[in-house]
Amino acid sequence: MKPPPFEYHAPATVDEACTLLASLEDAKVLAGGQSLVPLLNFRLARPAHLIDINRIAGLDGIYERDGGVAIQALARQAAVEDSDLVARICPLLSAAVRLVAHRVIRNRGTVCGSLAHADPASELPAVLLALGGHVVARSTRGERHIEAEGLFQGVMETAIAPDELLVEAWFPASSQPFAIVEESRRHGDFALAGVVRAADRLALFGVAPTPVLADPRDPLKGLQPSGDLEATPAFRLQLVRVLTEKAFAA
């Protein structure tokens, strides 16, 4: 299989990457590639330019900041999974990242990539939303924080502008109790539905075009999940009801 034609760029610094993003039309950032490369292989994505950020040194940090943990753009999911710092400050993120695909995928996949890709059924966007974290977007225009509540705008759509690079995600410390519970057909598959609990906050995933915050006492309110071969809307609602109970039983 062969991805569609694209022009390949491998900037050595964040500034170079931002300059490329500002000057090129129809460019896509390549980090871990575990979502983007399948889309290229299937030719569902046909960007004119691919900006591979993997050659940028010093962009794979995981560090403590403002009472939470910051995960830089090239920190692999496996590194976050193994990080003692993440386990200490944000054990909810440690638990969630283990549910993302399989270890071999996590060896390449990045936390920031999952957030930028914004698949409605993926775990990490819902974790960021439940915790009230933010991402840091950089461009030649400067740097800005985008709060989780304004980040996810639609199926695989975010508030990150075409000329911006997501350089870091910030997850607040997860206070007790927390839980992430999901139902999938096979271990490592995308969830049919899932819930994230961070103290008294609840975020749902797999049941709307974006992850959504919900009222723990009435999690189904206003929810209209879509149906597909794997699950009917009614089944997804039932899953949300049961998974929320499980998350709040802990």
Partner: protein, 151 residues
């Protein structure tokens, strides 16, 4: 990039997948290609010692890195790698199509967990599909591989 210890130039075609580069340009056909979107695990190779999907990487991305394929685990005529030996002893393969991917994933698993629990074994091979459904013997092979690796 170095592949099984030998230095090779990266392909000039930037859209060449690493899996296709290994098979078509370098003739290393032990790396199998199944689904080509990261689900089946057949194309798993080691990148700087950690298992990754070679179908989800561009070959140019491996420039400056060390790639190990199934051919790199044991030289022709040399004793098998402990993981290969364990798959052989425990009948951890039937048709063999998924085997190179399983073996490379298990090499990575045992590097991370030299004494894997039953749960870690299942988690470690959960990203590889076997259409002959020989999972019971593959599980046994992983446990045996852990024993053989200590000798």
């Amino acid at each position: 990039m170095r592949v099984n210890g030998v230095v090779h130039a990266a392909p000039s075609d930037t859209r060449r997948l690493l899996s296709d580069h290994l098979r078509h340009d370098l003739g290393l056909t032990g790396t199998h290609v199944g689904c080509e979107h990261g689900v089946c695990g057949c194309c798993t190779v080691l990148l700087d010692g950690a298992p990754v999907r070679s179908c989800l990487m561009l070959a140019v991305q491996a420039e400056g890195h060390e790639v190990t394929t199934i051919e790199g685990l044991a030289a022709d005529g040399a004793p098998l790698h402990p993981v290969q030996q364990a798959f052989h002893e425990c009948h951890g393969l039937q048709c063999g199509f998924c085997t190179p991917g399983f073996v490379m994933s298990v090499v990575g698993l045992l590097a991370q967990h030299p004494n894997p629990t039953a749960e870690q074994v299942d988690e470690g091979i959960s990203g590889n599909l076997c259409r002959c459904t020989g999972y019971a013997s593959i599980r046994r092979a992983v446990v045996r591989a852990a024993e053989l690796s200590k000798k």
